[in-house]
Subunit: 188 residues, 2 copies
Amino acid sequence: MNPSVRRDTEFAILGLLAISPKTGYDIKRCAETTLAHFWNESYGNIYPLLRRLHQDGLTKKKAVASEKGPEKIVYSITADGMSEFLEWLQQPVEPVSPKNTFLLKLFFGQFSNRESVVQLLQHYRDQISQMQTFLSHKLREIRSQESTDPGFPYWELTMDCGLNSMKSITRWCDRSIEKLEKMSGGKE
Amino acid sequence: MNPSVRRDTEFAILGLLAISPKTGYDIKRCAETTLAHFWNESYGNIYPLLRRLHQDGLTKKKAVASEKGPEKIVYSITADGMSEFLEWLQQPVEPVSPKNTFLLKLFFGQFSNRESVVQLLQHYRDQISQMQTFLSHKLREIRSQESTDPGFPYWELTMDCGLNSMKSITRWCDRSIEKLEKMSGGKE
DNA sequence: GATCGCATGTAAGTGGTTACATGATTTA
DNA sequence: TAAATCATGTAACCACTTACATGCGATC
């Protein structure tokens, strides 16, 4: 691993530790629930990065007896870690070109039949719809806690962004399916 | 390279060749213009994959004298290539969890000051807005050609999807900036 | 006594990107 | 004559995922 360059994933971990101390396992759980609609991490990435962060003095660790299972290692952020994290946070985000296999297949729709394209759209719509349900439950959940946590307004914003995109995509899917069904000619 | 497993990128190339024969350079140009809002490719990936596709008999190549620069290699899809491509096209798309550094930073907004978060949102908004302009020009361009190309309705659909998402995000950005500006307390 | 949740970690593989090397032709 | 566009390719690196290995305690 290149020792000089820090990556977004390390800052994601650092940020989660800034909210509260966590084990590697906790970080994975956070990624799967709270960050799910815009981030993901695997154990095979978390543990090596946690070690690296510690070697560089950005985190400190503490062994704690676990109620269940073996002893666990709880990491927290250090002052150095916090200062690197805050610096990263100030930097503007450069755009990335995402790979969207769904749109790629839709783009090649001419080589398929209309029915298959409609199915592709329906399947995608259903998936987005499911995520929408999951996210809106999460949102209601954190709202019901009437949290005074300083992070709350920002967590709400990210969820709102996700829900908005999802709603816009499902509506577009519905319109597109209609369009295709009205379309005549081409491969049937 | 694992010889048995074919990846989406190979099918992206195959699909572009199904539309019309192309050089590696052409494929790169296509990715940068037509597919830009949902796909991207680098030369370092295109050329090795082009070779692999040819070795497996999914494409055929033809050396053609170039007007500019050295002799070029024009690839086209074979019957075998087409049949593998069509099979891929029928498979449903599984969801992927995207990494969105912008939302990650927004999520950690509590550690920043309000002004910085507003700047983050404004910067993101501007980027999306630029892409929106680029895409809407592209859409007008292909519409003005009054294309009878069988691919046209599907190209239009992907652009429409992109434009829709972008509009929805810019609106959300505007609302979020307003919210933050009304917000009091916290780090100023 | 099997399986689930907690908990940590590694080795091998994957699917790329970046930077470079090369070279012809056209345009400014 | 410098830079841009056309054109092909490779070596090194990168960041991450997958699958596996291990093991405790609680639940079914």
